[in-house]
């Protein structure tokens, strides 16, 4: 769907204006990485007229600086168009430090590295059960049969999302993440909030052994969290549990399947799997955001940015910045230096990253050896979708049985 363009403000130099829709550019459907990478032909900081008009930072160093200066680049608005998914601030997504830190710590304790490690055996058991069932068939539709259900079904009971609502989660996630316009995003978000509101009330009435139920006992500033605050945290938990690990798993598998040499490296030496994922997270960065609101006039690389402006950081693109990553388009599982920003940076860095890394590693450790001579089903044409993240909703794979 074609988005409308806003008038260019007077303080934006015309030479920095680029006709680029960072969420739905038509090029994303054909070549997502190449489409984003074309921005490197132009200036480091550009201005896009779409979604009300916003600056776009394309370079690793500027994105990192922006993420690390919340006093200048505020999370009070985290997407463009600058309209929240809800009438109240999402927690902790739309808060800045120091308020942000209070809530963030609650989630950071839940999703700590130690907890992620302790969860590994469950993830491994889940992966084995799934591949035991699917491997003998010699084929699968990887997105909907493996990459979505494994992490989502693992995490739903931990968070307190009823597993019997799995199909509804799949549908809500599909409509939210694969929306063709911001309006469709808002519609899907309202449905998620209505659902979560009921769920929080149900958990309040009959708490279980899950994160939402534990949140009722968590305190910030010496008082218990309210149901309203927990609801506003649930949106992050919904987004984090239904898209990101799935997107990474699909993209990494989509890369590996037609690269038998790279696949064999991982089969010969599974200890390479963690670094392989880090490299693919860098090379296939799939997040077209986030955005921030500028709180004071600021000059970055000679570009005057005004208080009130919106800025979008192209996180996925940062991994392809040749000033930080040597030969950025190469995929090198033994790349020694890889300080990528796939999980973001600054105070809002992905709180689920430790869990995500365990899941990505274990899925590939358990699945790759069971899918001999793995390849994309012949005749398949991959269709990419974009928006806040890019990916595909279908990846048919075949292997020898």
């Amino acid at each position: 769907m074609h988005q409308s363009k806003a008038p260019i403000p007077d303080h934006v130099p015309p030479e920095l204006v680029v006709d680029f829709d960072h969420r739905l550019d038509p090029g994303f459907a054909v070549d997502p990485v190449g489409t984003a990478r074309k921005l490197y032909d132009g200036p480091d900081i550009i201005y896009s007229p779409y979604y009300g008009g916003h600056w776009i930072f394309t370079r690793h160093e500027d994105i990192l600086e922006g993420l690390r200066r919340p006093e200048v680049f505020s999370s009070c608005t985290v997407s463009v168009p600058p309209q929240s998914m809800w009438q109240e601030k999402l927690i902790p997504l739309e808060l800045d430090p120091p308020e942000h830190s209070l809530y963030r710590n609650v989630l950071a304790r839940q999703f700590s590295p130690k907890w992620a490690q302790s969860f590994e055996k469950d993830v491994r058991a889940g992966c084995r059960a799934m591949i035991d069932e699917i491997a003998p068939r010699g084929e699968c539709e990887f997105v909907n049969e493996m990459a979505f259900p494994l992490p989502v079904r693992m995490l739903m009971p931990i968070i307190g999302f009823p597993v019997e609502d799995y199909a509804r989660f799949h549908s809500m996630a599909d409509r939210f993440f694969h929306a063709q316009s911001p309006e469709q995003n808002y519609a899907a978000a309202s449905e998620v909030f209505a659902y979560m509101g009921e769920l929080v009330a149900r958990r309040r009435a009959a708490p279980g052994d899950d994160l939402i139920s534990r949140l009722f006992r968590e305190e910030v500033e010496g008082r218990l969290l309210t149901d309203n605050e927990i609801l506003r945290m649930c949106f992050l938990l919904f987004m984090a549990s239904t898209d990101t690990v799935t997107s990474a798993t699909v993209l990494h598998m989509h890369y590996l399947a037609p690269h038998p040499g790279k696949l064999q490296m991982l089969l010969d030496d599974p200890a390479l799997i963690p670094d392989a994922h880090e490299e693919l997270l860098r090379r296939l960065g799939f997040i077209n955001g986030p955005s921030r609101r500028v709180m004071q006039d600021v000059e970055i690389k000679g570009v005057k940015i005004r208080k009130g402006d919106m800025v979008t950081f192209m996180l996925g693109l940062a991994g392809l910045d040749e000033r930080v990553h040597k030969c950025p388009m190469d995929v090198d599982f033994k790349r020694a230096v890889n300080p990528h920003l796939a999980f973001g940076g600054g105070p809002h860095r992905c709180v689920g990253s430790h869990l995500a890394r365990v899941e990505l590693r274990v899925m590939f450790e358990e699945w790759l050896p069971r899918m001999k001579n793995l390849r994309v089903k012949p005749g398949t044409e991959i269709r990419w979708h974009a928006n806040m993240t890019y990916g595909t909703t279908s990846l048919p794979l075949v292997w020898d049985v």
Binding site: L64, P113, K114, V337, N338, P339, F343, R349, S353
Partner: protein, 65 residues
């Protein structure tokens, strides 16, 4: 080699502990916790790797010390 970490700016990526587990540990929520002040020669290469892989670039190694 002496380790100086800007702990206030660490955002908990945990890459240091992955790259040099003998040199860097993590606290309960995943923030950097150096396990030593001075790095013995045998661990210096991995300490350098950890510093270079920190996405926030908050690990400094004083090679003079």
């Amino acid at each position: 080699m002496k380790i100086i970490v800007d702990l206030a700016s660490c955002c908990g990526h945990a890459r240091c502990a992955a790259k040099a587990p003998e040199v860097f540990g993590l606290d309960d929520v995943g923030f950097c916790q150096p396990l030593m002040e001075t790095v013995p020669p045998a661990l210096q290469a991995s300490a350098r790797l950890a510093a270079a892989n920190c996405p926030e670039a908050v690990i400094f190694l004083d090679e003079e010390e």
